[in-house]
Amino acid sequence: MIEKASVLIVDDEEMVITSVRAYLELETNFEVHGFTEPEQAVKFLESNLVDIAVSDYLMPRMSGIQFLTRAKQLQPEATRVLLTGHADKQSAIQAINEVSLYQYVEKPWENAQLLMIIQNGIERAQLLRELRATMSELSTAHSSLKDVQKKLLKAFL
């Protein structure tokens, strides 16, 4: 990993956050941020960079889809995963289409599978960010090259 990975978990059930956190802290060195209120998770995203956002589907006031939509607007590179006990095809399709979901995981989840998804999701987000940074460096380099070229042309003509 290029930097310490940051994982955001949103579930109105405290027990899910506690369990996933305990597992990730045992097996990885990821920073885990858990919220039972999606509104607070949105606030967190406004000022903290995360690599992956894992959200429950059925929550009071704000659904998982609504939350992940906000997450996508705030941090488009962060990977989005839905972790849901509500096994319904409709919500899966909606999630995939509307928030360009990376993975849809059903409860009860398998720890090893969840870990793999989270690891791959983090790698994906960090690669995307790196790509974006490299592209912007490239475009800065390109425009400064153009400046040099202009100056050279001026000097010779």
Binding site: D12, E13, M15, V16, T18, S19, V20, A22, Y23, E25, L26, E27, L58, M59, P60, S63, T84, G85, H86, A87, D88, E106, K107, P108, W109, E110, N111
Partner: protein, 276 residues
């Protein structure tokens, strides 16, 4: 053309038809009961899968942690012992979570069991506050996202009743209330001891029942819901259970734009019915 049947044969036939009608009514009630559970199934599955997910995950973490604790103890140096201590703390918190998760599952199962009991249950003393709480557990998953449930449990005596049948009435009225509320809203469940009855009221903040629909809502087969959502049998059956089976009363008040409140009155003691 056949000869008209003679009186004894006719009586036999009538008896048979009556028995068949009775068994069909029982079957109908049974399938209605199953349909109302079916409507809540997605919510119930959600309610159970979440704690199961936690328990399974915790089990793995506990196992792995204990292995680590074991090797830390074998090392015995200061750092290892500190690490073992931290792991034990994590284990303790996960065990506490597992207890809550197991209780959550057994709550839902207890709610389901109330319905699964045999139809021809005996009259028994029941705590209706408890039964309402068990029934609310079943709707929790369905309501979670948009409906706030407020409860006001009165000091009520135990009631002689067919508990499973009354739970079916409660579930039916709660599900109706939930379906009536479009978007977000509130359901208020209240119980009171009133004279020789227990009074249960279930109020929703839905749009209210249209005046022209009000006289029809207890009629079997009447529904304002879409195909596949309502059977039009729930309230007819509920009225029958409360009034004919228990000698109580089921009525409602409704105001457009404000909501609807159903009142269920159940006598505390069942009069011994004369066998007819």
């Amino acid at each position: 053309m056949s000869q008209p049947s003679n009186p004894p044969e006719f009586a036999n036939e009538l008896e048979e038809l009556r028995a068949r009608a009775d068994s069909l009514a029982t079957q109908l009630a049974q399938s209605y009961k199953m349909a109302s559970i079916g409507r809540l199934l997605a919510g119930i599955v959600h309610e159970i899968n979440t704690p199961i997910g936690s328990i399974l995950s915790n089990n793995q973490v506990l196992y792995r942690s204990l292995e680590l604790v074991k090797s830390a103890l074998a090392n015995g140096d200061k750092d290892s012992l500190a690490k073992a201590n931290r792991l034990v703390e994590t284990c303790l918190s996960l065990i506490a979570i597992d207890k809550i998760a197991c209780e959550r599952i057994s709550d839902v199962v207890r709610g389901l069991k109330t319905f699964a009991r045999a139809e021809s249950s005996e009259v028994r003393k029941a705590d209706l506050n408890q039964q309402l709480q068990d029934t609310l557990k079943l709707t929790q998953g369905e309501f979670r996202q948009r409906i706030k449930v407020e409860t006001d449990w009165g000091q009520i005596p135990q009631v002689e009743c067919h508990g499973n049948m009354l739970s079916q009435v409660f579930l039916n009225i709660l599900v109706n209330a939930g379906q009536a509320i479009q978007g977000e809203g509130k359901i208020t469940v209240r119980t009171r001891h009133e004279g020789d009855s227990v009074h249960i009221s279930i109020a929703d903040t839905g749009p209210g029942i249209k005046p022209e629909d009000r006289p029809k809502i207890f009629a079997g087969g009447f529904t304002t819901k879409a195909v596949g959502v309502g059977t039009g049998l729930g309230l007819a059956l509920s009225k029958k259970i409360v009034e004919e089976t228990h000698g109580g009363s089921l009525h409602f008040e409704s105001e457009i734009g404000i909501g609807t409140t159903f009142h269920i009155l159940v006598p505390i003691e069942q009069k011994k019915k004369a066998e007819g």
